[in-house]
């Protein structure tokens, strides 16, 4: 089975992409939470079981 050996530069680029993606995802979680509260308000917790 062939393996692709990444160069140091490629490893550094991959790390950079992973960090950026992590930051973007974390921001989206916060954003979606805030927007849910704004659009639906506290009523989101007030649902019939």
């Amino acid at each position: 089975m062939d393996h692709v050996e990444l160069t140091e530069r490629q490893k550094k680029a991959r790390r950079s992409r992973s960090v950026a993606l992590g930051i973007v995802l974390a921001c989206l979680v916060v954003l979606f939470y805030v927007v849910t509260i704004i659009k639906v308000g506290p009523g989101i917790f007030d649902r019939p079981m």
Binding site: L6, R9, Q10, A13, S16, R17, A20, V35, K39
Partner: protein, 315 residues
């Protein structure tokens, strides 16, 4: 078209080759400088619109428009990689420079297109989302894939894509398209030809090498200069329309008129420039000033809107 024989085009990376594009390269695919203009004009449209939007939703609206504009930039870079590699101005972009593959760029552009439209639709309203989707389609398909390589009027019609952001910003607040937002659209639409033809004059060799039929390469310098003057007059007139229509104040109108007169003056300097001039200094000055002009007009509109909104004073 102007062609040179001493240029050696670099080669694109082979398919399947592992590339080393980092997060900065992916960000470059979004054309951040174009995006900054889109963000600014969309924000002005949003703040000028009658009505209110929650600040967080306003932020999401501008963010979605920015991401959508970036997505269309990525799709443009995916499709145009074959000609970008032939032009000095664009050869260092991530795809032609071999840092990001064309496939990854296409996937990135498509994902961001869908994501930005969905985010705007779900969180703000579906009219603005539809307009954003149309803008991305217009830039990526109508301009990039069709007009750019087929007609010297490519940027006249294609300029509509860059002119939509204030209409989208306005629609985010009002859920409608109004004559006022169309007036903002007209300013950018009429500004685009003079801006790009100034660039095309001093980059004619680049465009000729890539086979892009820009006006100077097809109709010649003289005809291009005349068109630049005509569009600079139309731009200057469109700049004062918000005051004439009554949705911007007199102070804005005076600033817009002065900026417009200067725009025409720079265009006339280009018209007076000798054909075959190698340095093209008046064209470079017009290109630089045109950016300043658009920034100045929309800054003045922003100030006008903020003063009216928060102090209730029409200046």
């Amino acid at each position: 078209m102007a062609m040179t024989n001493d240029y050696k085009a670099p080669t694109m990376p082979a398919a399947g080759q592992v590339l080393d594009g980092d997060a900065g390269d992916f960000f470059a695919l979004l054309k951040p400088r174009v995006m900054s203009l889109v963000v600014f004009t969309a924000l002005v449209g949003l703040l000028m619109a009658p009505g209110e939007i929650h600040p967080v939703l306003g932020f999401i609206a501008v963010l979605s428009i920015a991401v959508g504009a970036g997505a269309s930039g990525a799709l443009n870079m995916w499709y145009d990689a074959d000609i970008d590699i032939l032009m000095g101005r664009t050869a260092k972009r991530p795809v032609p420079a071999g840092r990001i593959s064309a496939d990854a760029t296409l996937a990135f552009g498509l994902f961001l297109s869908v994501f930005s439209v969905a985010m705007l639709g779900l969180m703000v309203n579906w009219l603005s989302a539809g307009l954003l989707a149309f803008t991305i389609f217009f830039y990526a398909v109508v301009y990039t894939m069709w007009l750019k390589r087929s007609t010297p009027h490519n940027i006249v019609i294609g300029g509509a894509a860059g002119a939509f952001p204030p209409i989208i910003g306005w629609a985010c607040v009002t859920n409608s398209i109004s004559i006022e937002s169309i007036a903002l659209f007209a300013i950018i639409f009429l500004w685009t030809p003079a801006h790009f033809w100034a660039l095309a004059l001093f980059k004619a060799e680049d465009y000729g090498r890539a086979g892009v039929p820009m006006l100077p390469n097809v109709a010649g310098e003289r005809a291009t200069k005349t068109q630049i003057v005509i569009y600079s007059v139309l731009t200057a007139v469109s700049g004062v329309v918000p005051t004439l229509m009554g949705f911007a104040g007199i102070a804005y109108g005076v600033v817009a008129a002065l900026l417009g007169v200067a725009f025409i003056w720079y265009a006339v300097q280009v018209w007076r420039m000798a054909d075959g001039d190698k340095k093209m200094i008046p064209a470079k000055k017009l290109f630089g000033y045109s950016l300043l002009y658009l920034f100045g007009i929309f800054t003045a509109l922003l100030v006008d809107a903020l003063v009216t909104k928060f102090f209730g004073v029409v200046v």
